[in-house]
Structures are given as structure tokens and as C-alpha cells.
Amino acid sequence: MTSMSNRMINILVPVISVILGLLVGAIVMVVSGYDPVKGYIALWNGIFGDSYAIGETIRQITPYILAGLAVAFAFRTGLFNIGVEGQLIVGWFAAVYVGAAFDLPKVIHLPLAILAGAAAGALWAFLPGLLKAKMKIHEVIVTIMMNYVALYVVNALIKTWSGGGDKTERIKETASLRSDFLASITDYSRLHYGIILALLMVVLMWFLLEKTTTGFELKAVGFNENASEYAGMKIGKNIILAMVISGAFAGLAGAMEGLGTFGNMYTRGGFTGIGFDGIAVALLGANTPLGVIFGAVLFGSLKYGALNMPNAAQIPEEIVQIVIALVIFFVACGYAIRLLLSKISKKKEAK
């Protein structure tokens, strides 16, 4: 009985949070003299309006899923990987490099390019992991620094590779995640097969954490290093492993951009933001694989759909940003809503 209502609550909480966020967002729009109804219709159409929008929304969700997984996986082992951004950037570059530099049949080329992205991300996360494991240096600060290093080093690499240019070569067809089929059914959107990979990774993370001895160890170490050591687990190994896997997810997110959305890489003036949003995505999803999907869908949809609010409802960018932030904020405050609901359901039971 109570467990039933609990499950109900678990589903209701995020929903209500989102609605609340949108409500407050509406108030902001009204106060600043814009029509929230028009605005939200535009948002809705921006997300689901037509096959093109749907395709692009999914395309936008894809890297968020992977970035979310990266952050979530680290958190489950008690590590805060704030360096997903940098791992994503190196992953993007590595994937594009392999995708452009070699001539191979698709069955080899595409997987190879994807793996390159994952490997680069993993490598970028390995160092913070190593420093944490061997010298107890806090991963947050190292990963923040590694973000900037990634940004500038990759820019420099692009220059060197392109002989002073501002962007890499385009990847070969054989390394592309895009397909005419997907384009045709979504009216020329950039939807690519990455979403399938992303979902596979969700399953993989779930499997790793919930089914394997490795996952058991990672979680144990995350909760209590002393007891884990007592139980014969290798603390250092697990910390490094967790960072490396997390980095691999992040690198894949980059590969999605490189092999799917863009097909090449420009020198960057700043970060993509996906890595940082990934933090919110992961925690909104309570660091569970399924939760990450929820978080990514929420973030991706809002982020892409929002583009249509200035386009179709003349609502300024900034207001849209405020609305998005509010939604995130309210979803984060789920506990308050949970409290309310449980009070209500208690009253019901009382009767």
C-alpha cells in the first residue's frame, strides 16, 4: 500500500517539479511582458513540433546522456568528476582525427573512431584518478585544471594538424554516425545513430554497477574505503578505474559531436557546456542510469526546444535561460514536493 504510493510519489515528484518550474517561468514571462502561452507552445513545438524538431532534440539529448553517465558513474564511486568537459573535448578531437586521417571500411573505421574518442577521454581522466589514488590529491581541482588544458591543447593540435587553420578536416563517410535514412525520416535533421550507442552505454553502466563484481567493489569503495580494504578490495585500482570509465563515457560524448553532429572540429573560444550540464543531468537522475536518461531528456529538450522561443514567440534568449534554470532548480528541490505529497497521501491513508 505505502510502497505503491511511494512509487507513485517517485514518479510524480519530477513531473510536478518541472510543472512548477514552468509555472514560475511563466510568471517571469508575464512580468517582463511576454505571452507565456505563446512561449510554451513555441517550446513544445521546438521539441516535438515536427519530425525535424524531434530529430534534433534527440540529437541534442545524445551527448547529455553520455556526459550524465560520466558524472554519475564517478559519483557512484564517491568521485566528483567535474572534468567531463575536458574529457569530452579531447574525445571529440581524437574521434575526428581517426575519422579523418584513415581510410578504412565502415565496419572498422566507425568503431575505431568511436573507440578513439572513448580512449582519449579515459586517458584524460586517468591522470586525476592516478593523482587521487596515489597522492590523495582532490580530483575536483585537478579535473578543473585538465578542462582548460584540454581546451588549449586541442586548439593547438587543430592548428598544427590543419597547418595553421581553424578547423580539422571533415571525417570520412566511413566514420560518420549520420545516415541518409535518419535524415530522411526526420526531414534533414542531424539525428545520428549515436543515440543508440548512448542508450547502450546506459545499459552498460547499469550492468556494470548492478550486475558485476567490479560494480559491487566500486560502490563499496565509494561508501567506505576502510571496510572495502578490509574486504580485500584495491582502493587505488578502483578509484582509477572509476575515473577511467567515467572519462570514457565523456570521451564518447565528444565522439558523438565529432562523428555525428559536426563531422569535424573547430578551434574553440570556450567550453561546450555539455560537461557542466552533465553534472546536473547526473544528479537530477540521482546518479542512476535510468535517472540519467530522465535528466538528459529534460536538459536536451529544454535546451534545443528553447531555440524556438525567440524564433516563434519573440521571447528573448535571456528569459528562456531563466526559465530553464528555474526548471532545474525546482527539480533539484524535489524533496519539498516529496514532503508535500507524502503528507497528502498520509492524510488519505488516515481516512
Partner: protein, 519 residues
């Protein structure tokens, strides 16, 4: 006769689990009132209600006849109620003084006046004979000292009613004696005490009355002098309890554990084990008797691979395991019931079931080829929970929610079920009720009888005397003597533990100027 505290028909629920079910407890002024109950009976919960940490679902609390609502520890403090918690409430990286003054700090010109506070602490500690160093950091002092800091906290706030939740569980005999004298002093000062303990002898020694609860229900209150340990035990457990564990003679065979000239340093790189030699054979229980801090912890950690040795060797069944990783040690046939169940024994945020599988999750049948079979884990856990009478709402309940005693039973189940050649039991009965103690002692003896070697570390003389076949006395990092329980008595043992040779001991016992208090 006036009551300073009246807890009437208190009810406390956790979710749909009832931890306190209409319990009544009345504390008279100037009495030491014992609260007795099995592990998980609801003692700590009841006291946390009195201290304002939990809000009761039912019942009422009267303080000095006045009905009160204790919504917050502040309120309790204002009412003159102080509590020494089962799990200490001390900030590890603070000094003694900082911990004591926290909440009402003396100031001079806006800034902390530590020196003044320290002086007051020193005075108090002198007045009650607590001798704590006001400037010591909590993480650096012994459990006994931390205990006394907790007491000082309550006194510093001028508490009139003191709650002691299992104060003696983690104390050495010496420390217990000191604590008892302290409690008597407190009573003389006109204070009243509620004492939770599982040690019936202590209850008989110090308490005036005893309230017994069983499985969350109040059983009743008896006058200590009109009762007996046997009666109390059966009231608490609901059946007869045998105290002296029956066991036949030991038949030791070949050597399992051999420790040779072992030298181990602690985390501050101070030598704690100094060339120690020890041998445990199949079919015997060797008890290590000693005062806390003589190298017991370092010895265990060195054997089990949790701490690197400086020199010397450790071998199991003739196989050298010196400085091997913990897992290699476990797999070479060592079971380990760790001294600190929260730090090493359990992952508190894991379900109790996972914790029961903590040593074997990677082996068949719990997992195959790196894939865990959680059904198998559940089955295994349920079986241990069943066999070892772990009181829990199920294998999926987080270990954190179990009472101390039941957490310990789970650990013991885990280690014994692996049926190791050597079972190391470090303070295995700390904080356990008589029933559980009896149960665990029987398990240890079973292991012995089935041809295993058992190494028991304990601060409790009677435990060492009852359970071991040989007693190795550890002092200053070395085994200074080995005696047979039947050929010694607690007093001699006490002297040995204090570093005297057996001759000296005999001499000291001979001369009738016997000073009860062992320094």
C-alpha cells in the same frame, strides 16, 4: 519519593517499525537506574527520545513533575538532562576543550577564551577524577578518554540528570572501575543517572533499580538488591541464560598461525609491536589479554594485511603471508572479526545482505565470471540472518539501521560461515547483550572443536578466562607470558597485564597489603 524523570507509555516508530511500544521509565532523584534490554530492544531510541533527538509518536515526558515537550537537544540541556551517547558525539579534529565548550563558549573580547575554558575543564576533570588533557585532540586519545570527555560535556553544562548509553561497552576493566567510581561521585553530588549496560555484574554493583525492556515493550522495573543476574537475564531474554559457557578440554594439533619476531609501527610511525612471537594451533582458542594500546590493534592489522610490518614474519599453515594483501590473507584461510565494526566491519550504506557477502561476493556461488548473482546473495544473507539471529527487517535493510548488537552478529556470521582455519575475533562481544554473548562464545568454541584455530582479543578478563584454552598476555608490544585459565585468576592476570612478571605477581598477591586497584 519524587521522580526527576517520568517517561510514560512512550511510543516511537521508524516507518512502520515500532522501536518503542508503550515503555514507561521513572527515574528517582539520586538513584542510578539501569536500563536493560537485548540488542535492538529500543534502549538507545528511548533515551534519544528523552534527549530530544527523536520525537515520540505517543506518551508523555515529565521532568520534576512538570510535563515537557523535548523538541530539541537544547530543551534537554536546559532541563538539565545530559547524555553520553552509545556512539560518541565528538568532533574528531577538535580538541577536548573545543568539544566541551561547543555551544556555550566562554569569550574574551569576542574571541574564544580557550585558556579559561581549558582551566575550567581541568578543574571539573579533577573534581570528578577524570584526568583528561584539555588540549588533546579527540582523534589522538583512547576510547576511554573520549568517554570521559563525553561525561565532562554533560557536567560542564551542569546536567543534573545523566544518561549513559553503554558507557562500559568499549572500556577496559581498569577504565570501567574508574567510571564506576565516577558515577558514585556524581550521585554523591546529588545527580541522577540512567545507565544502559549489558553487563549484569555492573548493574548489580552500581544500580539501585532496573527497568527491563524486550523487543520494544516495557517488561517492568525491579529493585536491584531484590534481584539477581539470573533473574534479570531471563526477564530480558525471556528464557533461562547460561553464563559460564560449557566447554570440554582442548585437543590442539598442528600449528596454524605462527608469528615470529614481529615488529609493527602505528600510523605515527611509533613501534607498537616489538618483536612479538605467537603461535596458535588447530583445536585451541588463544586469548590475548592486555590493556588497550599495548599493540593488539597493530598486531591484528599486521596479520590480516591491513598494515605493513617492519620486520619479522607471519605464516598460516606454514605458508608465509607477511605483508600480503588482505585478500590473499583471507584466502589463505583467515577469518577476521574486526575491532571497529563501523570503520572496518561494515559498509553502513549497503544493505545488510551485501555486507554479509562482503568477503565472498566474488566467489562461487555468489558470482560467476565477474557477474554477481544477487538472488544467491539474498539466499545466503537470509540464511546467515536466520542462523545467527540477526534482528533486522530483512536482507535489504541498510546495515546502518541495525542496532549495534545485530550488526556484530551479522559480521560474525559472515566470517564464521567462510569456515577459516584461523578465526581472529577482536572484541567480538563488545556492546552485545548476554544472550548474544553466550551465542557468540558458543560459536567460537564450536570452531575450536571442529579443528580450527581461534585467536581471541579481548579487554574483558572474564571473557578471556571463560573462552580461551591458553591466555597470552600482551604488554608493551610483546607477549610477556602465557598462562592456562585454570592455573590463574583474574587478579594475577591483571598484574601480568600491568607488566609484572609471574614471580612478582605471586609475591604481590602473597603479601596481604592487597591493593584492590590495579595501577
Amino acid at each position: 519519593m519524587e521522580y526527576v524523570i517520568e517517561m510514560l507509555n512512550i511510543r516511537k516508530e521508524f516507518g512502520n517499525f515500532v522501536a518503542n511500544d508503550n515503555i514507561t521509565l521513572q527515574l528517582r532523584k539520586g538513584e542510578i537506574h539501569a536500563l536493560l534490554g537485548e540488542n535492538g530492544a529500543g534502549k538507545s531510541t528511548l533515551m534519544n527520545v528523552l534527549f530530544g533527538l527523536y520525537q515520540p509518536e505517543g506518551g508523555e515526558i515529565r521532568v520534576r513533575g512538570k510535563k515537557v515537550a523535548i523538541t530539541d537537544p537544547n530543551v534537554a540541556n536546559e532541563l538539565g538532562i545530559g547524555m553520553v551517547h552509545q556512539h560518541f558525539m565528538l568532533v574528531e579534529n577538535f580538541t577536548v576543550t573545543e568539544n566541551i565548550i561547543l555551544g556555550n563558549e566562554p569569550t574574551k573580547g569576542g574571541s574564544l577564551n580557550i585558556s579559561a575554558a581549558a582551566k575550567k575543564v581541568a578543574e571539573l576533570s579533577k573534581q570528578y577524577g577524570l584526568n583528561v588533557d584539555p588540549y588533546a585532540k579527540i582523534e589522538d586519545i583512547s576510547v576511554g578518554m573520549q568517554q570521559r570527555v563525553e561525561i565532562l560535556k554533560t557536567l560542564y553544562r551542569g546536567a543534573e540528570i545523566l544518561i549513559f548509553d553503554e558507557p562500559t561497552a568499549s572500556l577496559t576493566p581498569q577504565e570501567i572501575m574508574e567510571l564506576i567510581t565516577i558515577m558514585r561521585k556524581l550521585i554523591k553530588e546529588g545527580k541522577s543517572i540512567i545507565l544502559i549496560t549489558h553487563k549484569l555484574q555492573e548493574i548489580m554493583d552500581v544500580s539501585d533499580r532496573v527497568t527491563v525492556i524486550r523487543k520494544g515493550k516495557g517488561i517492568g522495573t525491579v529493585i536491584t538488591s531484590e534481584s539477581s543476574p539470573e533473574e534479570l537475564a531471563s526477564l530480558m531474554v525471556g528464557r533461562q541464560v547460561i553464563f559460564k559457557t560449557e566447554k570440554g578440554p582442548a585437543h590442539p594439533t598442528d600449528e596454524v598461525l605462527a608469528v615470529k619476531d614481529l615488529v609493527v609501527t602505528d600510523s605515527r610511525n611509533v613501534e607498537k609491536v616489538k618483536g612479538l612471537n605467537l603461535s596458535v594451533r588447530r583445536g585451541e582458542i588463544v586469548g590475548i589479554a592486555g590493556i588497550d594500546g599495548n599493540g593488539q590493534s597493530e598486531l591484528i592489522e599486521a596479520i590480516t594485511g591491513l598494515r605493513k610490518t617492519k620486520s619479522g614474519s607471519v605464516s598460516i599453515n606454514g605458508k608465509d603471508i607477511t605483508n600480503k594483501r588482505p585478500r590473499q590473507v583471507t584466502e589463505s584461510g583467515v577469518g577476521h572479526i574486526p575491532q571497529d565494526r563501523h570503520k572496518h566491519g561494515l559498509v553502513l550504506d549497503f544493505p545488510i545482505g551485501y555486507n554479509i557477502a562482503l568477503q565472498t561476493y566474488y566467489q562461487k556461488p555468489l558470482s560467476k565470471g565477474g557477474i554477481i548473482d544477487y538472488k544467491a546473495i539474498d539466499r545466503f544473507a537470509e540464511q546467515i540472518i536466520e542462523q545467527y539471529d540477526v534482528r533486522t527487517q530483512g536482507a535489504h535493510e541498510p546495515a546502518r539501521a541495525l542496532s549495534g548488537g545485530n550488526q556484530q552478529k551479522a559480521i560474525i556470521g559472515r566470517e564464521v560461515e567462510r569456515d577459516p582455519d584461523l578465526l581472529i575475533a577482536a572484541l567480538p562481544t563488545r556492546g552485545l547483550d548476554v544472550g548474544a554473548i553466550e551465542f557468540i562464545h558458543r560459536r567460537l568454541i564450536e570452531q575450536r572443536d571442529s579443528g580450527k584455530a581461534v585467536l581471541l582479543i579481548s579487554f574483558e578478563l572474564d571473557e578471556v578466562m571463560n573462552v580461551s584454552d591458553r591466555i597470552a598476555v600482551i604488554y608493551d608490544g610483546a607477549i610477556i607470558d602465557t598462562v592456562k585459565p585454570l592455573e590463574t585468576d583474574e587478579q594475577e592476570l591483571g598484574l601480568l597485564m600491568a607488566g609484572h612478571s609471574r614471580k612478582e605477581a605471586a609475591a604481590m598477591q602473597a603479601e596481604e597489603g592487597d591493593d584492590k586497584h590495579v595501577q
